[in-house]
């Protein structure tokens, strides 16, 4: 294949924006976008709430400065302040640009883009399109990429970077439709593969494919991961699937009830009750379950979200989507029964370590979106800041790669190297005596993570988690692919995704054990307070001799001094 100037891995919001911007920066470049699903299926489509930008359409006194402060405070002061500056200053421009190219934003009375309040923001600055913001943004970007004739390789599964010393030669990927392993020699590669919260498997709100592939590929190539221990939990996931029941249910007056019939939030947040901040409600639910006041079922322990007292009329008129969702996915009608829920892993703050331009430590390799860690979210992401992150930094990464592609020689990927990748896959398909089932391993990984590297963390639990992951990695060697077909081998794909999750899970657990403090989403029972003296820094995890090796990096400060984070 003719060498590319830029290969973008991922067709979500970050990848598509990068593609558009790269084409704009230099139309002469030869650019490709690879995605394991059709771009419009990417998980960006799941974001309902909206994207933050200080447009000041709703609150006239809103400002970029306030957005910056809210973000830094929300991050529990772990975000890099220069990066947050970029995020918030670019926000109004990028939201308007999306508007200009067709995103159907909901509108205010004066016909400008509508905004609503969102958690952790001092002003209503979350721009939205009904409850389908991510979906419409993704549609818009995909449509524009089709308009510009972006070259897509849909249903290609990225396998590995091809590396020569300190620089990348390009990407190796499998064409799902043919099973063929193909080389994409390229001057630059941008990873935009989304988050890794699906490693919590049934305890995650994420799509089945949010398995951290890009991060794992970069990690295997020696690029450090940053702040991997920070995983955000959402309080109300459905018991069986982990899918999200949105805040609306509690907003309308739903109760959280334990097996003794108590509205237990009275113990944790007397005044706000069910409407306390996400992390507090998540921790409260988890405490109830851990202390034995949860309900038991083969699908795990849970508590009840009870809407019955709201009455059929209100549920039907104000919460129709939530009702549809619990009916569709849990078979429960909230008019008649309480909804079984428990906290669910929702967003990964950590990711590939990049600078403010999307560059990684490896020449010619960039990253953007949820798979990257710039860091703008620090220890805790604010709702509505993630869509913004993928747009702003997707664009920046696309621009940077386009500007810098000329600096690098086009790499060439040898036949031998391709063969190695094929061989690795083929050995999985060989029959052998004793074998392991990937489904079971995936499930066990999710369980041990939820239990030992979940909402509450503690030294002995984390050690147990790390041991479990190591054992799972051993057992993974015996996992077999039963489908021997070349055509659309989803069995093989899922096994490769499991491998990626296992590699990354180690970095999450190791980072969580190292960080002996509680900050943002990371709660250590044995170190319950934030320790700025020792831990006001990013953690890094680099693969050395097959092991996650910890490192660190200072936090870039700016106008805002460290303060206690209270709301």
């Amino acid at each position: 294949m003719k060498p590319f100037d830029i290969v973008i891995v991922g067709g979500g919001g970050a990848g598509l924006y990068a593609a558009m911007e790269a084409m704009k920066t230099n139309p002469a470049l030869n650019i490709a976008v690879l995605s394991k699903v059709y771009p419009n299926r990417s998980h960006t489509s799941a974001a309902q709430g909206g994207a933050n930008a200080a447009l000041a359409n709703k609150a006239k006194d809103d400002s970029v400065e306030m957005h910056i402060f809210d973000t830094i405070k929300g991050s529990d002061y772990l975000a890099d302040q220069d990066a947050v500056d970029v995020l918030c200053s670019e926000a109004p421009k990028i939201i308007r640009e999306l508007e200009n190219i067709g995103t159907p934003w909901s509108r205010m009375e004066d016909n400008t883009i509508a905004q609503r309040p969102f958690g952790g923001a001092g002003r209503p600055r979350c721009c939205y399109c009904a409850d389908k913001t991510g979906h419409t943004i993704l549609q818009t970007l995909y449509e524009q990429c089709l308009r510009k004739g972006v070259l897509f390789f849909n249903e290609y599964f990225a396998l590995n970077l091809s590396v020569n010393g300190s620089r990348s030669k390009g990407l190796i990927a499998m064409n799902m439709k043919t099973g063929k392993v193909e080389a994409f020699p390229a001057k630059t590669v941008i990873f935009a593969t989304g988050g890794y919260a699906k490693m919590y498997w049934n305890r995650s709100s994420n799509a089945a494919g949010n398995t951290g592939d890009g991060q794992a590929i970069a990690y295997r190539a020696g690029i450090p991961m940053k702040d991997m221990e920070f995983v955000q939990f959402h309080p109300t996931g459905l018991r069986k699937s982990g899918l999200l029941v949105t805040e609306g249910a509690r907003g309308e007056g739903g109760y959280l009830i334990n097996k003794d019939g108590e509205r237990f939030m009275a113990r944790y947040a007397k005044e706000k009750m069910e409407l306390g901040p996400r992390d507090l409600v998540s921790r409260s639910i988890e405490t109830e379950i851990l202390e034995g006041r949860g309900f038991d079922s083969p699908a795990g322990k849970y508590i009840h979200l009870d809407l019955r007292h709201l009455g059929a009329d209100l549920i039907k008129s104000r919460l129709p989507q939530i009702r549809e969702m619990t009916l569709n996915f849990e078979g429960v009608d909230p008019i008649e029964e309480p909804i079984p829920i428990r906290p669910t892993a929702h967003y990964s703050m950590g990711g590939i370590d990049t600078d403010n331009f999307g560059r990684t430590v490896m020449d010619g390799v960039y990253a953007a979106g949820e798979c990257a860690c710039v860091s703008v979210h620090g220890a805790n992401r604010l709702g509505g800041n993630s869509l913004l992150d993928i747009l702003v930094f997707g664009r920046i990464a696309g621009h940077t790669a386009a500007e810098e592609a000329g600096k690098f020689e086009p790499g060439s990927i040898s036949e031998e190297e391709l063969k190695e990748n094929v061989e690795e896959i083929r050995t999985r398909m060989q029959p052998s005596g004793h074998y392991e089932r990937y489904g079971a391993l995936r499930e066990e990984l999710g369980q041990t993570l939820a239990l030992n590297v979940g909402i509450f963390r503690e030294s002995s639990l984390l050690h147990k988690g790390i041991e479990d992951i190591a054992e799972l990695k051993e057992r993974f060697k015996k996992v077999r692919v039963f489908d021997s077909s070349d055509v659309f081998n989803t069995n093989l794909q899922q096994v490769l995704e499991l491998q990626n999750m296992l590699d990354l899970a180690e970095t999450v657990a190791v980072g969580a054990l190292a960080r002996e403090e509680s900050r943002g989403s990371h709660t250590r029972i044995d170190f319950p307070v934030r320790d700025d003296e020792k831990w006001h820094k990013h953690t890094l995890a680099t693969l050395v001799d097959g092991k996650a090796t910890p490192g660190e990096k200072p936090v870039t400060m700016g106008r805002y001094e460290l303060q206690e984070r209270t709301y």
Partner: protein, 345 residues
Amino acid sequence: MTETIDQHQEGKRDVTFRVFRFNPQVDSKPYFDDYTISAERGITVLRSLNYIKEHVDATLSFRAFCQAGICGSCGMRVNGISKLACTSQVWDELDKCREPGIIRVEPLRSLPMIKDLIVDMDPLVDKMTRYSNWVDSTMPLAEMGKKEFLISEEEFQQYDKATDCILCASCVSECSILRANKEYVSPAVLLKSYRMNVDSRDGIHDIRLAELVKDHGVWDCTHCYRCQESCVKSIPIMEAIHAIREDALESRGPRDTSGAKHAEAFMEDIEKKGKLVEATLPIRTNGVVWTLRNLLPMAMKMIVKRRTPPPPPLVKSAKGIKVFRAMFREMTEHVKQDHLKSQKK
């Protein structure tokens, strides 16, 4: 595995999934495999398929991603109807089986088969491209990102529902014309085209419309409503199709296709005879098939727009009705001929 099939809960039922299988590498033709599992209440078709893949047959191939009805990956035919596997409850499907206890699962129709339940989506993407399913913004490049277009709530309402489409291709699979003519534009693409054409930010309305009225375009639709009935997001697709046709007649006149020409002739005829609304009623109840539904409403709207005075009540003579019937029959024939021609191509 705890996630899928809970064995412990009361209220579980035995279900057989009769699944369409085809691997182009080894199979000369498709066949069905039966998988019997026990499924508790609350389990979706997709979770059952996942269970089968993990525990019974790892080679069973299908697409799924969000598992929450938002990404559009898992479109397939369950008990003969195209829908999302991830939002379909097994117990509900059990009530719809033709053979008791057996849920049939098949791939979507009218898209090339790849393997088992997986079909090729590329033809749909190609059509989105052909019909310019994007906003070509009138905002000058230099102004991009600097200011907003001001869009009224009314305008937003016009395309709000259309932007719900998740490109799952259920409507594509159910479309009666597509089954005969793969080049037909497709309901989802008509919907998207409509959405772009009513967007005031867009500058290529006329170009898009010109493409839509060509062969295999908007005039080929038979108004069978199947797309709308099967839309997983309950989008009124037919309204979009009507709107495009009206728009085409209004801004391009009746010059485009034979269908449009018939509509115009028909309309003039009625105008001359002055027997409209009521005249059509007996024919509708008599069931003069789709041509009627297809062409009449538009003709009526055209008359209204031209401010034709309301027609006098129908003279209830059998002769009048006969004339109309003959006319409809002729039109029906014409449109059918056109379809046959396009099929042969």
